[in-house]
């Protein structure tokens, strides 16, 4: 089935919601204020990549903007309000994902003048330094740095900062990086693309060191393959996007580089995620 026919089928299915769209459209659900990924001015790298793909496929690009908080997928793509979500991890639960178009890792972020160069959770200095981490509560989960630290008994010097922040703020997830720059914490452990972009623009020079996964982190990956998410039954759309991602591999890499996305070349167990996790459902 061609992508055009597929989109038309989707359109019929969601007439009540978006009646004015042409059949040839690529509908993207995205956060309206979460740079470097996306924002309503379409300045994020995911906006750029989506535009590149839509142009190639000769489709009009339409956005459905919605903050990426709890139930984002349930309230957007899984209600048919769009066809794709950019930048989700390969094997993401509840979605079908394309091939990976980049791979990044969590990084330790410190102020350059401190020259700390921390790259492992077993670094003894982590027992005394003030460590900033993102916290969330979706489905009872925490981000991998929280597990790595708490499982080593490092809790008293942890500073939890909400990844959701205040919706009124510009790019609330950057609060954690501001905490490093403002000396509220000595080190933060942050997902690479966010840290890389913020470091590019930070008035206080920052150092980024990718997390090196030790033996304790075997079941807790810090590296993730990133893909485009589609609804589970949209295999034709997924295949079309796969081909497109392969064709534009070079341009996409340039876009990511210009946003400072760290793409460390560290061997990782997470490349098996798609295989191991998808069969769980």
């Amino acid at each position: 089935m061609s992508l055009v026919t597929k989109s038309f089928g989707l359109l019929l299915g969601s007439l009540a919601i978006m009646p004015v769209l042409s059949a040839q459209s690529l509908r993207v659900c995205a956060d309206p204020g979460n740079l470097p990924y996306s924002d309503v001015q379409k300045q994020g790298f995911e906006n750029r990549i989506a535009a590149l793909i839509a142009r190639d496929l000769n489709e009009e690009l339409h956005y459905f903007w919605f903050p990426q908080r709890d139930n984002f997928f349930r309230k957007t793509i899984n209600q048919g309000l769009c066809d794709v979500v950019m930048g989700v991890p390969v094997g993401m639960k509840g979605l079908e994902t394309t091939r990976s178009y980049y791979r990044s890792s969590y990084v330790f972020v410190t102020r350059k003048d401190q020259d700390l160069r921390i790259s492992s959770f077993d670094d003894p200095r982590l027992r005394s330094l003030k460590i900033g981490v993102h916290v969330l509560s979706e489905q009872g989960d925490s981000l991998p740095p929280v597990y790595a630290l708490t499982s080593r008994g490092i809790t008293k010097n942890l500073v939890g900062i909400s990844i959701f922040g205040n919706l009124n703020e510009k790019d609330p997830s950057t609060d954690l990086l501001k905490a490093v720059a403002d000396k509220q914490v000595d080190v933060a452990v942050v997902w690479g693309p966010l840290a890389g972009y913020f470091a590019q623009h930070s008035p206080v020079p920052l150092s980024l060191t990718p997390v090196v996964e030790g033996p304790r982190e075997q079941s807790l990956p810090f590296h993730f393959e990133i893909a485009i998410g589609v609804r589970r039954d949209e295999t034709a759309l997924r295949d079309a996007l796969d081909a497109e991602l392969e064709r534009r591999r070079g341009e996409i890499a340039k876009i990511l580089q210009s946003y400072g996305v760290p793409q460390p070349n560290i061997p990782s167990s997470s490349s098996d995620i798609r295989k191991s996790e998808v069969c769980g459902y």
Binding site: D31, N34, Y37, F66, P67, Q68, R69, D70, N71, F72, R74, K75, N78, Q79, P89, V90, G91, M92, K93, G94, H134, V135, L136, S137, E138, Q139, G140, D141, S142, L143, V146, Y147, T150, S151, T155, K156, N157, L158, V159, G160, S162, I163, F164, N166, L167, N168, E169, S173, W191, P193, L194, S219, L220, P221, F224, I226, I273, E277, G280, Y281
Partner: protein
């Protein structure tokens, strides 16, 4: 007009209460005047007056949260004649929790988001609409609410209908004209805070709690002036004693709950700011002791490895002065929760003999699977008995108040904890029970679900990928999932129950002087049960699953009526809504695994049903 007289009489009782208390010691051991032995009640069983005798002016009908009405024109002898006398659609097919109010000859409905207030004229055939008030809450709140966009109802006081909107505001609307009198912001949706609970008005103070524990919101209770909406005090669930409003008059019964600034010291530094303990359930009030009672929700963040310590004051039952907001006592039911067991359930106030001595009791059927009986003057735990299968804990030490937890059930990242009962939805959700002083039984809407806290799955939020834990819920042992229980309070035992094989019982309960208990099923059956025997005497299939609370009133024609919302939704019920796939057992915070049957059994609805005889 006779309705107005009733209103005045009610107001008069209240004024008398205030007068009586101001001049004398409030620690009166003997029930006198303020609690009442209603006609037909067991001897020595007293409940807080006034009871819901014709009108329904507050969320539970009465301050004591018995949800008992002495009305008996509909009774075991004629309930077979009960039939629909009116239906009203709200046009919003989401979870219809809570109950309408009846004041005089007007019935008031608060809808789910956008939280419209609809006034119906009970004096005319078909109950025509008098007016509709539209508060237009901020739509951002819809993206934030964890578990459907519900509202649990309103209170009537000072000529106003007072309720909360999803975007963390409290509104007061003139009960006659439908015009806004005041509107006050009580929280900030931009930090993930919403308001879904039904406020209660005690001593001219409107008591409001917040929701959003799933987002690491800090729980808080707000007291507002009923006249102006001005904020009089705020009592947080975490932080310093000053923030929690703990002062020299705070006397917890147990040593474990005593100490300075426990809301700070039982957390890792700073974590209390995201500490949860939200207050989204029911508030009761004892006018004689001048204390409000409520419970707090789960600690934030959900992952327990992140927050070593007792995490006070999450999952705690509180007694406070409604005028000053100051705490009188507190009892933390479960320290350092790892299961999302909010204890925001109703606290039912009953005076009755306990082991031969007259006691002022607080009865709390908990999400944790225990019925807690406490002395509401002191906070002493008198009994904690299981009412559904429970594996997370073995029991409670009544001398120390400490729970005996089952270590193998504790949740940690990378650990597979299997067979935790009850699941996070609890042995009972927020849907309130009812106590009949005629039988001495508490009628509990219960669930039987367990969960596995298991494995790992790739997830993503706000641009960030991670491997997280998954929760899968499923029906518990015994071949049933819902249970409507008659619980003998004095003897702490189940007397009879009605089991539902496929779905939880997720509706509130009403008991009446006609020896009837009313409740609804998630499939949509609305039932009248004999309070003594548990025999289903009458039932009617409404259009959608029932997650609201039944109520009763006397109409302008002098006849008794019973009303219920039919509109499935809420956390468990949202699995019936089209946007949730029941194919994914981990969807809707894992609850879908326990709700496989729901889409085959019911569809969304938006209807008020009124029944007469």
């Amino acid at each position: 007009m006779d309705r107005m007289i009733k209103t005045l009489r009610y107001a008069g009782t209240f004024a008398a209460t205030t007068l009586l208390l101001s001049g004398s010691s409030i620690a009166i051991a003997q029930s006198n005047g303020m609690t009442t032995n209603v006609p037909g009640a067991m001897s020595n069983v007293h409940i807080v007056s006034p009871v819901a005798d014709g009108q329904w002016t507050m969320p539970a009908g009465d301050y004591g949260n018995t949800r008992y009405s002495p009305l008996d024109k509909i009774n075991t002898g004629n309930v077979q004649n009960l039939h629909v006398v009116g239906t009203v659609s709200t046009g919003i097919p989401h979870g219809h929790e809570g109950a309408p109010l009846v004041v005089g000859s007007t019935l008031y409905i608060v809808t789910p988001y956008p939280d419209n207030l609809i006034a119906l004229d009970l004096s005319k055939p078909g109950f025509p609409q008098k007016w509709i008030f539209e508060p237009n809450p901020d739509i951002t709140s819809v993206g934030i609410a964890c578990c459907d966009v519900v509202n649990r109802g309103a209170s009537y006081a000072d000529g106003k209908i007072i309720y909360n909107t999803l975007d963390a505001h409290t509104v007061a609307v003139d009960a006659n004209t439908g015009k806004l009198v005041w509107k006050t912001q009580v929280g900030d949706i931009h930090f993930g805070e919403t308001t879904t609970m039904a406020p209660v008005v005690a001593r001219n103070v409107v008591i409001v709690g917040n929701s959003g524990g799933e987002l690491g919101v800090r729980g808080q209770l707000t007291g507002l002036d009923v006249k102006t909406g001005k904020i009089l005090w705020k009592a947080y669930s975490t932080g310093s004693d000053a923030d929690v409003k703990i002062g020299s008059d705070f006397h917890p019964f147990y040593a474990k709950d005593r100490g300075k600034d426990l809301g700070l010291s039982t957390w890792t530094p700073g974590q209390w700011k995201l500490g949860g303990g939200t207050i989204w359930g029911w508030v009761s009030y004892d006018p004689e002791l001048n204390l409000i009672y409520y419970g707090t929700g789960n600690p934030g963040v959900w992952n327990e490895d992140m927050r070593p310590g007792d995490n006070k004051w999450s999952i705690t039952i509180w007694a406070r002065d409604p005028v000053t907001g100051m705490a009188k006592w507190a009892y933390q039911v479960e320290p350092h929760d790892g299961f999302d067991y909010d204890e925001i359930m109703e606290n039912v106030l009953i005076d009755m003999p306990w082991h031969g001595k007259m006691r002022k009791l607080l009865v709390h059927p908990g999400r944790t699977g225990f019925v807690f009986v406490m002395d509401r003057e002191t906070g002493e735990l008198l009994s904690a008995e299981k009412f559904e299968p429970v594996t997370w804990a073995n029991g409670f030490d009544l001398k120390t108040g400490v729970v005996d937890t089952n270590a193998s059930m504790q949740t940690h990242f990378g650990k597979y904890s299997k067979g935790i009962c009850p699941s996070s939805t609890g042995a009972k959700e927020f849907v309130p029970s009812s106590f009949s002083p005629k039988t001495g039984y508490l009628y509990i809407p219960a669930h039987n679900t367990c969960m596995d806290y298991e494995g790992t799955a790739v997830n993503y939020i706000a641009g960030t990928p991670y491997l997280g834990a998954s929760v899968r819920m499923y029906p518990g042992p015994g071949g049933y999932q819902g249970e409507f229980i008659a619980w003998d309070v004095a003897n702490a035992r189940k007397v009879w129950s009605i089991k539902d094989p496929d779905l939880p019982v997720y509706s509130g309960v009403l008991t009446t002087g006609g020896d009837l208990a009313f409740y609804g099923t998630m499939e949509g059956w609305f039932r009248a049960v004999d309070t003594k025997t548990g025999k289903i005497l009458w039932q009617f299939k409404t259009g959608s699953g029932i997650v609201g609370n039944p109520m009763t009133f006397t109409g302008p024609d002098g006849k008794q009526y019973v009303a219920i919302y039919s509109g499935v939704g809420g956390w468990m019920g949202a699995t019936a809504l089209p946007s949730v796939s029941t194919d994914d057992p981990y969807a809707a915070l894992g609850v879908v695994g326990a709700m496989k049957q729901i889409k085959a059994k019911t569809q969304p609805g938006d209807m008020l049903y009124v029944f007469g005889y």
